[in-house]
Symmetry: C2
Subunit: 348 residues, 2 copies
DNA sequence: CAGACTCGCGGAAACGTTTACAGCTTGAGG
DNA sequence: CCTCAAGCTGTAAACGTTTCCGCGAGTCTG
């Protein structure tokens, strides 16, 4: 005669009922022992033994349902292959993992409907929190974020009054650092290869570039500005267009991928770096150090921003009543071979 | 007088009870409407309206508990920053996302206890399946994988009889392709910068290198072999050690990061690439094309392997009874500037 | 030695959803 | 007019866990 109810899950795996029955105690006691709460030595021994014998492992979903926690943290970025996001992701993963949680990644392709849909989906609480680094921010983003039942942290520029935790840098100032450095080392015709102007970083960097030149009293020759995409191939193409119409003595690029593309364009065109043209990238990713010559780059602290965002998120998960906070990571300039001063030449 | 039970979740968000109460129907009917099952027009209208009004979104965890599916797929690799894993991850993410699931990433650091712990943790079913690409495979890995209640797919070499879905390439043959190419273009003193020999890829590439030289009747000068780590810095250091003791006319590197390090070492040492020394990497990552000169590299189809692994996993999730399968991606060689033949020189 | 207090335990409810089952209504066919 | 099938609906159980609460036994205190 077969018992109908064997205390096992549908797939035959042991549940807390299996363990309790085997140990001869109630499921409440079994659960308490397995969670290290109070119980007599004898009960502890019996439950531990029973759990061991049947190879019991608690079901994560059932536990989540009870605790209202999934132990997951989401991360949404445009492209998980871009080195700047790779560094952020690595830093975030480390923080998240050390808190015993896990990271769920989303590649949005910078597609706005995808991003807002993702934020809206937070309503079903499949993660305990979310870090998002949108390249463009719309009103839809903001409403979706504020309506989300789980905390959201934004990496990137956000309106001053948005009630959302925010980690940012100041890429405008970062561009200024690079321009100052190039001018200090004797460069005057500084070209600028930017990403799309309708993105938050693209706009900020454009503004920063113009402001920095103005600060030095240099009038901008618009032929020195070119716009592409934040990718290698587009950066290379943009640099080629720029070089085909004018002769800069320095090139500032809106990120390292563009800078690598520009380096390629320069070397392929027979220009020497840094002798003929100095080159500076942005984001200071590992890529910058891998190139030959090594690339100067404006660090926007991507790993640091990732770390801070993860910290902020974990703190808010722990205490949702916290006021919205804002962290700012200052840009710094890493000077390397690609923008070394020209050895005493005929200039200036 | 306050109602004790408001049909809302602890945090005040609406549940299916809220919607049902508001629509004046049972939770069963509400659930049916929300899942598009049979119901009368009137019921459908009322439930839809009620759900809309209260902004109902089903709770993902509760749904998971019922369906025994989390909608998550795990991926465990050594380092989510290594370009070869970045490409795999990108391909996997695309497949997984298009099936309506999401990707949970784990960076194991190549640490064996971390990896086996991760595999054992699958017992709690926090994901529907897992893709793992271990750099070393132990018996512990295998038992943890076969005991897992959720399917596991391995990217990498696995014993012939392991009853686990497996996607592999043949890096031994891949190394052979590179050696053949270098010899065909007139190189004879081929150096080899490898990763650790106690890793699966390290061992395979070492064997492949020796076999290829033997096939061409070349006796290996052990000074031409150097071992480091699969990283940029270690690769550069290893290449420097090799170059300081002997003069190769070609350098084959066990992955692209090492190759970039070697390129650095060569250029810093004043050697011209490819004129003095030809250079070939492995994995054919985006990095290879970003260097100047562009790097020849043996493609091991990382994106393709990722795609296949994800397909295999999704198929097995859909039908766990499938027999274990094995997919093999053949290596191919991408010849680029770094290994162009020497322009008719004095040699051979 | 009586009362209060502590401790361990088991029963049952809860988390929010889906779904098996049974009862009801309605309409068609004989 | 009766029977039967078909279609909706609601009740309740289930998924596997944690936890509230009440109970009994033991211990301490005055």
């Amino acid at each position: 005669m077969v018992r109908k109810r064997l205390h096992n899950a549908a797939d035959g795996r042991p549940t807390v009922h299996t363990v309790a029955a085997r140990a001869g105690v109630s499921i409440a006691s079994a659960s308490r022992v397995l969670n290290g709460l109070g119980a007599s030595d004898e009960t502890i021994r019996k439950v531990r033994a029973a759990a061991e014998e049947v190879g019991y492992v608690p079901n994560a979903i059932a536990r989540s349902l009870q605790s209202q926690r999934t132990g997951l943290v989401g991360l949404a970025v445009e492209d998980i292959g871009n080195p700047v996001y790779v560094e952020m992701m690595r830093a975030i993963e480390a923080v998240v993992a050390s808190s015993g949680r896990q990271l769920v990644v989303h590649a949005t392709g910078g597609h706005i409907p995808t991003e807002t849909a993702l934020l809206r989906r937070l309503a079903n609480r499949y993660v305990d929190g979310m870090i998002v680094s949108p390249i463009r921010i719309t009103g839809d983003h903001l409403t979706a974020m504020t309506e989300s039942p789980v905390p959201v942290v934004v990496i990137g520029q956000l309106g001053e009054d948005a009630p959302v935790d925010n980690v940012r840098t100041d890429s405008r100032t970062g561009v200024g650092l690079a321009v100052d450095h190039l001018i200090a080392t004797g460069r005057r015709r500084i070209g600028f290869v930017n990403g799309p102007l309708d993105t938050v970083p693209g706009a900020a960097r454009d503004a920063g570039f113009r402001a920095a030149l103005a600060r030095h009293g240099i009038e901008l020759d618009e032929r020195l500005v070119e716009v592409g995409d934040f990718q290698y191939a587009a950066g290379r193409a943009a640099a080629e267009r720029l070089l085909s119409r004018t002769r800069p003595d320095a090139l500032l690029c809106a990120n390292d991928l563009i800078a690598v593309g520009a380096l390629h364009a320069l070397l392929a065109g027979g220009r020497r770096v840094p002798d003929d043209v100095a080159l500076v990238g942005m984001d200071d990713t590992e890529l910058a150090q891998m190139m030959f010559p090594q690339l100067s780059s404006v660090s926007l602290g991507s790993a640091e921003r990732g770390r801070l965002a993860a910290d902020l998120l974990l703190q808010r998960i722990a205490d949702p009543a916290l006021p919205p906070r804002r962290e700012q990571v200052p840009p710094t300039l890493s000077v390397r071979a690609s923008s070394a001063p020209v050895a005493a030449g005929p200039g200036a």
